[in-house]
Amino acid sequence: MYGFRRHSTYRAAAIAGAFTNTVFGILRAYILIALWEARPGLAGYDVADAITFCFLSQAFIGPMQVFGGGLGLAERVRTGDAAVDLVRPASLQFWSMADDLGRALYLFLMRSIPPTLIGAALFGIVVPAGPLTWLLFAASVVAGVLVSFGVRYLVALSACWILDDRGIQSLSLVLCLFFSGMVVPLNIMPGWLGTVANALPWAAMVQVPADVYLGKTDVAHALGFQLGWAAVLIALGALATRAARRKVVIQGG
């Protein structure tokens, strides 16, 4: 809740972000329409599915923090404030996660719903059949945020070892943009590239929740995939936190 309120002070920034997401959604939608008109039924999508995918992927940018960052933790490691965070009575990882879930909820309301509605008004998007799909979609989005948090937490914590984290941040950005389905839907990637992309954790952030929404995937498998990666990444995060604690003690704070 605290995270939600902290981020809700930046309302103008969120509105501006929603505006930008909408503009990009429209531009990308036209490109996907051109592709699907040339190749109807490509990858099991029709044109409407492709448009929906496009606006959903724009909608996920905010909550999933596709462009990286959002935690503020890396900054705190660099300034040394993280030392204070580590002695707090609450676990650094769970405290960050709670903050991040609040942020995601706020950005979902501000930056996900408006672009999707505008996309629906301009191009028309697919609406899921029943309440069950909506529910599963909601679960899938939450699972996606957890995976996204898991990745970003590890990236942020890496600043404890490599003091300048900008290099790894930009590496993480490339991987995330490409393998989440943000650049092109993963299901049109050719051959082995598509297979690899669909198995990596980034798929859980954009491609999988969008497919759950569109009803294009086996839901049990999709949620299992997301939660599996979330569990692995959060476990790794816990290990890294313990290692970081030892590291900070050695450095003397």
Binding site: A12, A13, V174, F178, I188
Partner: protein, 262 residues
């Protein structure tokens, strides 16, 4: 002004060179991030022979020219879209009292060599695409003209975005929709977009003159929207007009600027 700019850019370059590894990694990172857009184009052409009536080398040509223009503008002046951060931090005030144009100071602030990564990537694409196209020498002269005009147009868009932030200090992201949105728009042939959008970027915000209209001339392509032929040569006019408007907007913004007082 050019001398001051060069001097300041050199200073920032030397500052960046203090961390050579980081600088190299960031440059490579920018190269790879901008290559993602190209990979997207390749993946799309895995599935189709033409997009909006254009072949892969033609799209790569349009992409290459647009991105050379954009990355030049971004390298030299793109930083003006950080204006709101300076206004909020109060550091813009200190720029105003220095005896150098605040526009030059803003443009060169933290001059970052890693933006060269994007430029190099775009040049590579253009160099690969051009020989495949067999452009007759009677039309190839347009390529440097369009790259120059495109750079001016993108610089003007960055400046307008900066000027807008005098008004919208809290919402700098709005400017991104036009600067980075403009770069995304011009990567593809405009024939994939809707008619209204294309009218808008031809007659309101003239992004169509970055690479689309002059590109039609170079490629010897029909205009799918049936606009007059002479528009293909109107890029310098569009660049001049937009440049003048953005300069006026920047001045107007500067005049109405009141410090945050902090």
């Amino acid at each position: 002004m050019v001398r001051t700019y060069t001097l300041l850019a050199w200073t920032w370059l030397r500052a960046g060179a203090q961390y050579p590894l980081s600088m190299a990694l960031l440059t490579i990172g920018t190269f790879v991030v901008s290559a993602l857009d190209l990979i997207a184009i390749w993946i799309i052409f895995e599935h189709t022979g033409t997009l909006g009536g254009f072949t892969l080398p033609e799209v790569m040509f349009l992409y290459g020219t647009a991105m050379v223009s954009f990355s030049l503008a971004d390298l030299l002046f793109g930083n003006v879209d950080k204006l709101s951060a300076h206004v909020r931090a109060g550091t813009f005030d200190s720029m105003l009292i220095r005896p150098v144009s605040p526009f030059v100071q803003m443009a060169v602030d933290r001059f970052a060599v890693q933006r060269l990564g994007k430029l190099v990537q775009a040049v590579v694409v253009l160099v690969i695409a051009l020989p495949q196209l067999d452009v007759p020498s009677s039309r190839v002269w347009m390529v440097p003209v369009m790259v120059f005009c495109g750079t001016v147009i993108f610089t003007a868009v960055f400046t307008l975005g900066g000027a807008l932030q005098f008004l919208l200090t809290d919402a700098p992201e709005v400017a991104n929709a036009f600067t980075y949105g403009g770069s995304a728009l011009t990567q593809y042939p405009l024939s994939v977009y809707g008619t209204d959008l294309v009218r808008g970027v031809t007659f309101v915000l003239p992004l169509a003159f970055v690479n689309w209209q002059p590109g039609l001339f170079v490629l010897g392509h029909e205009d799918p929207f049936g606009l007059p032929y002479w528009l293909r040569f109107a890029a310098p006019l569009a660049a001049l007009l937009l440049g003048a408007i953005s300069a006026l907007a920047w001045r107007a913004g500067l005049r109405r600027y009141r410090s945050t007082g902090s």
